[in-house]
């Protein structure tokens, strides 16, 4: 029963509210002319400072790089926007990969040159690990005399 009473009261309240609103609307329509004029002037003033609408720029199908940049600046959505921010990233990634590849190749070539020089030399590579041979290399006169001897043999 209480629930029913409450429902009834709410319904009555709604009816009362709507009836009041209807009366108030009538009252609002019968404002003095001076007030209406001032409200009209206020409305015109408000419309004069209205926030400008955003103008959507139609994008060309093939805009090129300049078009991409322009679209980026315009901040609009679309395929060219995606391309606009993806392209520099792709270029950067491929550039980094290329630089890394070039550095690897350069290092491999350097190592290959050293290996080739060692293998093509008369002295076996193991000799460079021998301390006696290193001491022999440091003594310049011995090596010079050796060269002189080989030169004399070749001249004969």
């Amino acid at each position: 029963m209480k629930h029913q009473d409450k429902q009834f009261t709410e319904t009555q309240a709604d009816q009362f509210g709507r009836a009041s609103a209807a009366l108030l609307s009538q009252s609002a329509q019968s404002l003095p002319a001076g007030i209406k004029d001032r409200l009209h002037a206020a409305r015109m003033k408000a419309l004069a400072v209205r926030k400008a609408e955003k103008v959507l720029i139609k994008k060309p199908a093939f805009a090129g790089i300049s078009g991409i940049t322009a679209n980026w600046n315009a901040g609009s959505n679309g395929v060219w926007d995606t391309v606009g921010w993806m392209a520099p990233l792709v270029v950067l990634v491929f550039g980094l990969i290329g630089i890394a590849q070039w550095q690897d190749d350069s290092r491999i070539n350097d190592i290959a040159e050293v290996d080739a020089a060692l293998l093509s030399d008369d002295v076996p590579p193991d000799a460079y690990a021998d301390s006696g041979f290193l001491a022999f290399l440091k003594n310049g006169p011995l090596s010079d005399s050796g060269n002189d001897a080989s030169d004399s043999v070749q001249s004969k």
Binding site: T9, E10, A13, F16, G17, R18, A19, S20, A21, L23, L24, S25, Q26, S27, A28, Q29, S30, L31, P32, I35, K36, R38, L39, H40, A42, R43, K45, A46, L47, V49, R50, K51, A52, E53, K54
Partner: protein
């Protein structure tokens, strides 16, 4: 996005109602006009690009904020006036003063109505507006938004920054108070 025409139509449809709501609150014609103008300018300037469907709620909220701002300024001003002057002792007169009595001037569009009927309706409106003006602020806001602005309970709660339960309570109390006050004057809606 609301076009200029839609915004103009919307403002045209709400300006009179907004003025009445403002005057119920501040009881000063010039202040009410200033409040409505400020609210319309703020709406057009800041929210003019919103969809037309969002405008009623946004405008109601701006209007209520403007009214609250006016009361805050008045409070500060009154504090200073009270501090520096001992001449303002006419508070009783101010309480009795009801500017609404000077508002409901007869309009030419109602000239076809019967004199007695017109007088009766005028008295009814005066009584209703007078009682609405006497309501506590929150009750009046909830009542006017809910029934006159035709906002839903959720929208009213959002505009008043309170819960939906509070809106229901405010509306219920407002309708009961108004119905009781009008009944005492022999008026039934």
């Amino acid at each position: 996005m609301a076009s200029a025409q839609e915004l103009s139509d919307f403002l045209s449809s709400v300006e009179k109602r907004a003025f009445k709501q403002a005057i119920y609150a501040v009881r000063d014609e010039d202040a009410a006009l200033d409040i409505v103008q400020d609210a319309m300018i703020k709406l057009a300037e800041k929210y003019g690009d919103r969809p037309a469907a969002e405008l009623p709620l946004v405008f109601t909220r701006i209007l209520q904020n403007r009214i609250h701002d006016w009361f805050r300024r008045q409070k500060v001003r009154n504090a200073w006036v009270t501090l520096f002057s001992n001449m303002g002792k006419k508070t009783d007169e101010n309480d009795d003063f009801d500017p609404l009595e000077s508002l409901s001037a007869p309009d030419d569009s109602e000239i076809h109505q019967d004199g007695a009927q017109k007088l009766e309706q005028s008295q009814l409106l005066q009584a209703l507006e007078s009682e609405i003006a006497k309501l506590p602020v929150r009750q009046r806001e909830a009542f006017l938004m809910r029934y006159w602005d035709e906002l839903s309970i959720t929208e009213t709660a959002k505009a008043m920054s309170c819960s939906e339960g509070s809106v229901k309570t405010h509306c219920s109390r407002a309708t009961q108070t108004l119905a009781k006050a009008l009944k005492l004057k022999g008026i039934t809606l």
